[in-house]
Symmetry: C2
């Protein structure tokens, strides 16, 4: 009799649990379809991004437009229905491009204009520029091997993106930009230029962060468009005595105050358990910062907006953070993680979108194995929008300080093939962003953050 | 003793089979990586497509440029190293747009220009056009309900793509284009126009096939750009006595001769067992037919080229077929399947790429369950390029006559969100095609056709 009772109880428990699972599952499925339909119907993310791009435009850290972006973003989050919206201030770097950027090559007296821009952080040239013989290299070994020959010359880094790579071409080429000036100065070159970091062949120089070392002479460091880089390289193969002249007028001013912009839907059961969704509000001072990273910011606002529009009451707090200064300092990310406001908060997860507003296919995840498996078990709920590829490794620069504190971090992974066509250049404009692709990213972030809120991690 | 021998033999067989599987697997993995690297390094598909788009341009069935495309394609397949290249001739329809396409709405005497184009197959208006009151409808029920009211009027079909749909919006809207003129004529309308079949809001009318019925009066049928459609619709809400005037000068001429263009790598073991890879060589007479379907054709040539460049000797014949007349008649697909040249051939599978040169994510497959499972077992080999989603259902219009004969058919499935932004319009140009995304499609088709060749089906 006891045995039969035990069996009966087991069966009842099984039925109870199974019913709950099926019921919950069914609820999720129809809810997530509603989220997707609401998102796609309104394509609100693209509306917000259009306004950011056309009324404010690009917004390099420390600039007036970055200040405007802070105010505009705050008011948008309020309009979209966040429970609380606030800013958290911090000091940020203030590099300015200056008005004059010019380059030309001089081939035995014949002068040919090239497309150039200063890399972010570069010092200016003297007012009339620098002119010198130019030496083309592919990597730092070649620079070091130049030794004395480099003295007084301009180094031209021309290692292109490796087309054969399935991915990671940027990571494999970007040290030319980031530390090229240091390596060139070490062999007494007076300036350096790089081939822009892109697969595309066009006339737009692509900017991006570059660094100096305190112990090494600072020299001006610029980017040539890929068309100009090819022209210079071909000329160097054919001609002797090719000189390059360039003028940059950039400078680094004293730090100024700026802010992260934060809005949230407060959790109904565990308000101090936080799930961050975010992007970075600053961009480079080229184009409109549409894909990089207006997209990630507006998608994060849309997460809050979708939750509000559908009348959801998540158990945990879902917080959208627009980080300031990702591109050249990470002050926003660092400040957020260490801010005193965090004292009583427990961060459950942080999700960043900073790989462009393209069609998303999954998330890259950095956390321990148990939490990875739990997150992976959520992937099936994103299959209906094709965003179920949950892979180990990933996150985002702005949330890396949280990661160091042990917070699980996730990065939205969209199609990556077109990203560097636009990245950090005048090509990064709103017309390059497909409204539905952008919205699918916001939908994926909404579903995943809601799942973490309801199921915990 | 006997028992031990049996065990030993079993173990040996197991080791032998396992070794072979592992060895074969390993060979495939390194070979397929080589195929991908070779493809991405040269991006030959985009080079071919650029030449097709810029030297020949669009190529509507029956046109001079379609004839040029046949010759050009034949010579390209020879250059790329196909073992055999030939054409198979057939008669095709010859519809021409004519030079004059104009539309304007007349609002109480004020005339406002609208963007219009004839739909493919439409008759012309009288030389001075038609002008009448216009009635906006969303579907055929509304047309039928008009009854007598429609007499002498112009019907304006304005049911937009349903944004809420995850996919299939085109299929849900396209009957306005394909049979809208028939339904409008049944209620004695004198002409009809549609809202262009696209999510995009722009000033480009999108053309496409439309049909008449022998028993129903033929009336002219055009497409308005989505901007013009919105303007007309808003005006109709605000104003009375809105008239629409439009002039089309299209006509259908007698059939002319054209051809499918075919090239192949002959199978080393089973030459009469054929795997088709293909696209359609004709396009509409708008833009350059870059995504639709220059992409699929050039990808199919690249399949042969990659096999040749890597020195592979497939067991079965891999054949690239550029079908003529997919857009308005399917004569190429029908002729291919029924051609006397097919008498001694056995078609193992047919793969079509006709959904644009975007990033591919898998294949849609129509065949019996056993063959589907075998094909699905190949998917793992495409995971490294993100093209492992093998789903039931799919194929392509050109290979549908083969499907009716029992041949397994497969359609390459790329990202679909941007397709209808360009489709059948002046927007469908080479600058909208990313070289790497296009090449990934060719790589996926190469790997899958080679697997079918080596493993059978």
């Amino acid at each position: 009799m006891k045995n039969i009772n035990t069996k009966l109880i087991t069966i009842f428990i099984f039925i109870f649990v199974a019913t709950n699972i099926i019921f919950a599952q069914k609820n999720y499925d129809s809810l997530f379809l509603k989220i997707a339909e609401e998102g796609l119907d309104k394509i609100n993310t693209h509306r917000l991004l259009s306004e950011l791009c056309t009324t404010i435009g690009n917004r390099v850290t420390g600039s007036e437009s970055a200040s405007k972006a802070v105010e505009w973003t705050k008011s948008q989050m309020e309009k979209e229905g966040a429970d609380f919206v606030w800013t958290e201030k911090m000091m940020v770097p203030h590099w300015v491009r200056g008005k004059i950027e010019k380059a030309e090559m001089n081939v035995n007296g014949k002068k040919i204009k090239l497309d150039i821009c200063a890399l972010g952080g570069s010092i200016a040239t003297p007012k009339n520029g620098i002119e010198a013989e130019v030496i083309e290299v592919k990597n730092f070994d070649e620079v070091r091997a130049l030794g004395e020959k480099a003295k007084g010359k301009i180094i031209f880094y021309n290692r292109p993106f490796d087309r054969k790579r399935l991915d990671g071409a940027y990571g494999n080429a970007v040290n030319q930009r980031s530390i090229g000036a240091i390596e060139a100065a070490k062999v007494s070159a007076i300036g350096s230029v790089i081939r822009s970091m892109t697969y595309a062949l066009d006339d737009k120089p692509h900017t991006g962060a570059m660094h100096y070392e305190d112990s090494v002479t600072k020299i001006p460091h610029g980017a040539l468009s890929t068309i100009s880089a090819n022209l210079l390289s071909e000329t160097l193969k054919k001609e002797k005595n090719v000189k390059l002249k360039f003028i940059l007028s950039s400078e680094t001013l004293p730090d100024v105050e700026s802010a992260n912009v934060i809005g949230e839907i407060r959790g109904s059961e565990f308000p101090n358990e936080i799930i961050v969704v975010g992007g970075h509000l600053d961009s480079w001072d080229k184009g409109q910062g549409a894909h990089d990273d207006g997209s990630g910011c507006m998608q994060s606002i849309e997460v809050l907006s979708l939750i509000k529009r559908l009348g959801l009451k998540p158990k945990r707090t879902i917080r959208a953070v627009m980080f300031m200064n990702e591109e050249n300092g990470l002050r926003g990310g660092l400040d957020y993680a260490s801010n005193k406001n965090r004292a009583n908060e427990k961060h459950i997860a942080a999700i960043e979108s900073d790989a462009g507003g393209f069609m998303p296919h999954g998330f890259g995840i950095t956390t321990d194995s148990l939490k990875f498996e739990k997150l992976k078990s959520f992937a099936k709920h994103l299959e209906f929008i094709g965003c179920e590829k949950f892979q180990k490794g990933g996150g985002g620069a702005d949330i890396s300080p949280l990661q160091k504190q042990g917070v699980p971090v996730l990065g939205l992974n969209p199609d990556g093939e077109r990203y560097f066509d636009y990245h950090h250049s005048d090509n990064d404009t709103i017309d390059k962003v497909n409204p539905r692709e952008l919205e699918f990213g916001a939908i994926a972030m909404t579903i995943l953050s809601y799942l973490i809120s309801e199921e915990g991690l």
